[in-house]
Amino acid sequence: MKALFSTADFPILDQRVYGHPLTYLDSANTSLTPDPVLQSMDEYYREYNANIHRAVYPLGEKATLEHENAREKLRQFIKAESVQEIIFTRNATEGINLVAKTWGKQNLKQGDTILLSIMEHHSNIVPWQMLAQENGLEIQYLGINHEGRLDLEEYNSLLKNEKIRMVGVTHQSNVLGTINPVKEMIQLAHEQGSKVLVDGAQAVPHMPIDVQYLSADFYVFTGHKMCGPTGIGVLYAKKTLLEEMPPFLGGGEMIRTVTTEGSTWNDLPYKFEAGTPHISGAIGLGAAVDYLNALDMTAVQSAEKRLLDYALKQVQNLHGLRLYGPQESDMRGSALSFSLEGIHPHDIATLLAEQGICVRAGHHCAQPLMRHLEVPATVRASLAFYNTQEDIDRLLTGLKSVQQKFL
């Protein structure tokens, strides 16, 4: 089988940790950054470092052009209709806060209800709780079944509550790996008259995304989980919504005119991008999109599915291991959350770290879900296209040695 990518693109992998090869299984936390992305950011600082949208000299024009090219690349990547619908943020969290504090604050009134799934990351819970407190709103939660999937019947019956004005749901769970049927969920919510915000942080790096096909009202994601740098993310929203929304932060760039008495707002998307943005970050994220496009997201998805099938088989065969979330690879991403009987997740992660294996242990910023699963913490190994079967084999060898130590 032809390799999907060149290992030379990830020089970070070429190192040893405590004498062991580095085995990186924490891409749901943050992905590794390929060389072309690093180069694109380096080029900006070395060759055309300038602020954007104001400088008239060539450096500034080039910086503006590259920054806006990146926006266009992202538009194409998620198939948005217009670049005006691509708002650069710091991360997915900021995107959700932006929506809660502008659209939410303006449109959700006393007694209105927000429906969230129990598998949401804290970033898709806390901003709504803050808004609920401010505007006197209710929050309801949609549960999961024994397979770790959302219950669509329950969803349908919860939606009968006409007070529900906003549904917040993750496209792919960062803990369970579950891929949620967001297209159907959005359609049902729209029939009821509710808007939907989709947290795409874990989905965008792993599958082709089409926000128009999904008909998402709001779709947020972050750069650093999709081979881009940290500190840059995207909020997609339908233009009709963005036009009606008040600005988020005030300051430079987001205004048209400012007088001592007041201000008027800039056009989309700039209305929501106050201050000098993360220019190199946007350029780097554009380069990450180029990188992923060159691999082809459909090819990334099938390569990861093959790897996931292998990983599922291996972990399910390990005695004493309990895997949370769907047990099959259908409609499932490659976050593998598990526990080993009698051994605390933090001990597992630390012992694996001593063998150069990077996994996460903890509540994964999803405390309501962990309470639902009745576990204080889990270990999570998460895959990306740059992982290999050898990485899975090392994980299994590592887990067996942890078990031996504790037996």
Binding site: H344, H346, K405
Partner: protein, 128 residues
């Protein structure tokens, strides 16, 4: 690097001073939301000394070994002596090098002990 010396895993499997005291002079539950480590200590105090001590809860091997060793250490010591135990002492007692994340696991035991003593003082103001 070897964080998991045999004695730590041994203490995790066979903890010392685990359980309850019937009528504790002071108790405190320390909880780490980061990893779910959860330690409760009961103290029996007489003449400002810890005469008996028990702990319970659950957590990782580091946190559990730490509270086992600290409860051994605390028996018979005066409250003021115990309040003066610095974090470095716990690390030394465990005999392992700890990174910043795992250090929190090791120090939860000390937090539980110190807060239990402080609550005792708060309830017996004349004693301090």
């Amino acid at each position: 690097m070897n964080l998991y010396l045999d004695n730590i895993i041994d203490l995790y499997k066979h903890p010392l001073n685990q359980g309850f005291l019937k009528n504790p002079s002071a108790s405190h539950r320390a909880f780490s939301p980061l990893c779910g480590d959860d330690i409760t200590v009961d103290l029996f105090i007489e003449s400002n000394r810890v005469q008996d001590i028990r702990h319970r809860g659950n957590g990782c091997a580091i946190s559990q070994a730490s509270i086992s060793l600290l409860t051994e250490e605390a028996k018979g010591k005066s409250l003021d002596e115990l309040l003066q135990i610095p974090p470095e002492y716990i690390v030394e007692m465990l005999g392992v090098e700890l990174g910043p994340v795992r250090l929190k696991c090791a120090l939860l035991s000390l937090e539980a002990l110190h807060k239990a003593i402080q609550s005792y003082y708060n309830n017996h103001i004349h004693g301090h």
